[in-house]
């Protein structure tokens, strides 16, 4: 999917949060949005996930403006986008059922009802749950294929976030929208998720990622976008943005001296 924000703005009660953002993500491309807290990264990702409608400007998916479509057609577009948040927010069920959830809700109600009855019957007759190959394949991408029958509540924070990633990936979305998915993770789980993001890119998924971690942005991005006070001040390849920024504010942000004045630090 070729995803595009075209001079998209967003505000609440007249207060601007994002101003005239233009940004594109192509198939097989990782675009990372960096910026200080409160810059509007999460709001930008919510626009990209079609959770919110821009108050001005446009969103385009393969040239189509989703917000001008009827609800069902917009749902079809939304289903081509997978979303992972900072918080894993797994459902209270098994790992496999979590990963399978996206595919399950795409089935017609009759098929879902039949699946429910079959699952109950399988549990009562065989006494054990079952799993299909697609679910295992998604779990294998995050190294958790052997944990499919575990209760999601028993997972560690890092494992839960990896399952959340597999859940987003299982329906094979064309664009992945990832809102600081590794900010609460240890280095090992972060590395596993970064590898999974790389594999998703290799499979031609577009990835729009928000992160606080500039090293991560440098490691995995094709392009880095710098967001400040709701404005996109710079976008380009990571080596160029980090080593030779065109905007003075980007240079100050990369150096770490944009966010605080002396009084703020002393306070």
């Amino acid at each position: 999917m070729n995803f595009e924000l075209e001079r998209a703005s967003y505000g609440v009660d007249g207060t601007p949060i994002l101003t005239a953002i233009s940004l594109a993500v192509g198939a097989g491309e990782v675009v990372t949005v960096i910026g200080p807290s409160g810059a509007g990264k999460s709001t930008l990702l919510r626009l990209a996930a079609l959770f919110e409608r821009p108050t001005d400007g446009a969103v385009r998916c393969d040239g189509t403006e989703p917000w001008s479509l009827p609800r069902d057609d917009r749902l079809a577009l939304r289903r081509r986008i997978g979303v992972v948040f900072q918080q894993a927010s797994l459902f209270e069920t098994s790992v496999a059922r979590n990963v399978d959830a996206g595919r399950r809700i795409r089935r017609p109600w009759s098929s879902r009802l039949r699946g429910f009855v079959e699952r109950l019957a399988a549990r009562w007759i065989h006494g054990s749950p079952t799993v299909d190959d697609r679910t295992l394949e998604a779990l294998a991408l995050v190294g958790l294929e052997d944990e499919w029958d575990r209760d999601a509540a028993s997972l560690s924070g890092g494992e839960a976030q990896r399952v959340s990633f597999a859940r987003a990936l299982a329906p094979r979305p064309e664009l992945l929208v990832l809102d600081e998915p590794t900010s609460d993770l240890d280095p090992r789980n972060t590395a596993i998720l970064e590898r999974a993001i790389g594999r998703a890119r290799d499979r031609d998924h577009g990835v729009l990622l928000a992160t606080h971690d500039m090293h991560q942005a440098e490691r995995i991005s094709d392009r880095v976008a710098v967001l400040l006070d709701g404005e996109l001040i710079e976008i380009g390849p990571p080596e160029r943005v980090f080593e030779d920024p065109r905007d003075e504010r980007t240079a100050r942000f990369v150096r770490g001296d944009l966010l605080y004045d002396d009084n703020e630090l002393l306070a």
Binding site: F51, G82, Q87, S89, F91, I105, S164
Partner: protein, 223 residues
């Protein structure tokens, strides 16, 4: 002689059957009304939401005698639904229990729905869920709270005396079997006669019934 009233098993069976039938029917109807209301209020963000929530919560403590009087007035011969001839029938008792249980189930279910983290709803939307899917996922996440609400409503309904006495009349047929006599009104009746042992036995039967229904519902709910 004490416990005379229980010497005929058909009498006891008839009041147990009526108690269960009336309360289960009332709870079934009440759940069908309460859950959509709880989801509509819990999901929506509208002006006056706090007022609606306060009204529901106030309804949880509605005096049962007042409910009985109101239902009696509506169903009595002079009331707006008098032509339906429902007064002093099990149907009238179902209506009064429905009125009493609905705020309880709605209030507890609403609280359970609102306690589901917004992040779970976002996660559901993030995998491509429709509003109906999100409601279903929220119901699954809130299921223990919803079940607690249904059980609390059942408890309120089956233990009800005042309103079912007013609208049902505690009537037994000539052969002694129950027309509108439930376990609670039978207990009240036996106490008035001074038959405390009989009342105590009926009370024990009521407790066992409530325990059984709670056990079955919790088992079905996976707890």
């Amino acid at each position: 002689m004490p416990l005379d009233a229980l010497s005929d098993p058909t009498y006891l069976r008839s009041i147990i059957r009526l108690s269960l039938t009336v309360s289960l029917f009332a709870i079934l109807l009440s759940t069908a009304v309460s859950l959509p209301v709880a989801f509509a209020v819990g999901f929506a963000d509208f002006q006056g939401k706090r007022f609606v929530t306060a009204v529901i919560n106030t309804g949880m403590g509605f005096p049962s005698v007042v409910v009985g009087l109101l239902v009696w007035y509506v169903l009595s011969n002079r009331g707006p639904l008098g032509t339906l001839n429902l007064i002093y029938t099990p149907e009238a008792m179902v209506i009064s229990q429905l009125v009493l249980a609905t705020p309880v189930i709605t209030g507890v279910a609403l609280s359970a729905v609102e306690s589901v983290d917004d992040a779970v709803r976002d996660a559901a939307y993030g995998i491509g869920a429709t509003r109906a899917d999100v409601a279903l996922i929220t119901l699954k996440e809130a299921r223990y709270g919803v079940i607690t609400g249904i059980l609390a409503g059942f408890g309120r309904a089956i233990s009800e005396v005042g309103s079912v006495l007013i609208v049902g009349g505690n009537i037994a047929y000539a052969d002694g079997t129950s027309k509108t006599r439930t376990l609670t009104t039978a207990i009240q009746f036996e106490v008035r006669k001074g038959e405390f042992e009989t009342a105590l036995v009926l009370g024990a039967v009521l407790l066992v019934l409530v325990l059984l229904v709670n056990g079955i519902v919790l088992r079905l709910g996976g707890r």
